[in-house]
Amino acid sequence: MSTRALPFAIGRTPKRVLPGFGLSLGISLTFVSLVLLLPMTGLFGQLAGLSLAEYWAIISDGRVVASYTVTIGAAAVAALVNAAFGLLLAWVLVRYEFPGKRLLDALMDLPFALPTAVAGITLATLYASNGWMGRLLEPLGLEVAYTWVGIALAMAFTSIPFVVRTVQPVLEDLPAEVDEAALTLGASDATAFRRVILPHLWPALVTGTGLAFVRSLGEFGAIIFIAGNMPYETEITALMIFVRLQEYDYAGASAIASVVLFVSLALLLAINVWQGRFIKRLHGGRG
């Protein structure tokens, strides 16, 4: 056997058919490096100046830990509420025809389009004790503004589109035959929904809820106005970073930010991996 390559393998790989590979690669890599990756080095540079003990002391400080609890607790409540509310909205928007449906559909994107600070002051004003909603709720013993309920409310407001917009297309693609198969086999509406429809929506619902949760963890503008920002009680982690910055405690801010960053990216990765595995099972591949 000679070591000579086969004639058609000589030389470089065939030239790409479409033009612009070099240019688009150049622009993309330059941009990603300068805008996305380079700034991250600042964070790690700052963290490198901390010893492990110092780092641990900052991120396990009582007030900071309290802020984790508030943030994660409120984000979890908001995500769960949104899972139910988002599922209902997606279902209604896909399955039923009614006047005003297009308006309702358009309204779903409002939280994405509305600047968070605007959402923040609006919710704070609405749910303050003299606001339209606050006046109704306060006599019922439900205080929203300046409590963790308000934080959860603001989080739910900003992240509801994640659930609706992930579940909606999946529900649209569900063939009518799936419903019909369940019905011809004698299933009641409730049983068919629970045993057939819901499992189909499950990956999208979990993904959407997960994204809503991640978004809530990092949300800032919508929350700080309604939160009250009482240390140990209604202070969210994003605000802790901000507070440390205002104290010119860059190391502290960086340490807390690294926790938030790590948790967000880890969750995002987990959602992607989980979704990939689920989809594999439904669309083939041995398991």
Partner: protein, 275 residues
């Protein structure tokens, strides 16, 4: 056709619940913004909007937005072209990387820029030595705004260009068209609405970014205050009506964004029905 949940009772209950919740949760805040802005009448609203600092904030916000959009547009189109038209190692990684700004808390985004370009940062220190100050000035605001808005155009284009495939461009190549002509005459007409929607989303986010900007701006009235920062200051100063006057301008942009989206979707649906 028989489908699950079609019984009239179930149907009516669910629609009613959805509409009621959406009205309370989404529509009411929207109404409240404008109600508050005009709470003391048209005159007060106008004097709030034409206030010197408000006008300066509007100006800065527009300035930043106008600079952000072309940058995001070039990056978005280049990235979408790259990942949908070529196969190369690291393609998936690149697609994942552009989602970072969506996952990162805006405050963290502002912080990392501050750490890099601020006086104590390794790049900032060098810049400071050359008398260039990026943080607590408009270039810093621009940088973080580009960071938080850069995925929008690419995210709109990639799925569409992936679905369309590269057959048409390949046909153009066989017909001897040069690169730019292919893009302008073949690709662009196919993606223009998605591109436009990407720009609209970029615009909405650029105008409204708060968390990241508040970290790097320094919020100096009349100088480094964007509209969202300005309304925060007014709100903290108990000038609620003034804050909501600014908020109503931003809400108007949000409404226009929603209307644009609905129109573009309607157009796309109609094109699908009557090609």
């Amino acid at each position: 056709m028989q489908r699950i949940g079609d019984a009239p009772g179930v149907r009516r209950t669910l629609i009613l619940a959805a509409v009621a919740l959406a009205a309370l949760f989404l529509l009411l805040p929207l109404v409240a913004i404008f109600a508050q802005a005009f709470a003391q009448g048209m005159g007060v609203f106008w004097s709030n909007v034409s206030d010197r600092y408000t006008v300066a904030a509007i100006g800065l916000t527009l300035f930043i937005t106008v600079l952000t959009i072309p940058v995001c547009l070039v990056f978005g189109v280049a990235l979408a072209w790259l990942v949908t038209r070529f196969a190369f190692p690291g393609r998936r990684l690149l697609q994942t990387l552009i989602d970072i700004p969506f996952a990162v808390s805006p405050v963290v985004a502002g912080l990392v820029y501050l750490l890099l370009y601020g006086r104590n940062g390794w790049l900032g220190g060098w810049l400071d030595g050359h008398d260039i100050q990026l943080m607590f000035a408009w270039p810093g605001i621009l940088l973080v705004t580009i960071f938080v808005t850069c995925p929008f155009v690419a995210r709109e284009l990639i799925p569409l260009m992936q679905a369309q495939g590269s057959r048409e461009e390949e046909a153009a190549v066989t017909l001897g068209a040069p690169g730019w002509t292919i893009f302008r005459r073949v690709t662009l007409p196919n993606i223009r609405w998605a591109l436009l929607y990407g720009v609209i989303l970029t615009n909405a986010r650029a105008v409204g970014e708060f968390g990241a900007v508040s970290v790097v701006s320094g919020a100096i009235r009349g100088q480094t205050n964007t509209l969202p920062l300005h309304l925060e200051q007014l709100y903290q100063d108990y000038n609620t009506v003034g804050a909501f006057a600014s908020a109503s301008l931003l809400a108007l942009i949000a409404l226009l964004t929603l209307a644009a989206k609905a129109t573009l979707e309607w157009r796309a649906a109609r094109q699908e029905a009557h090609p």
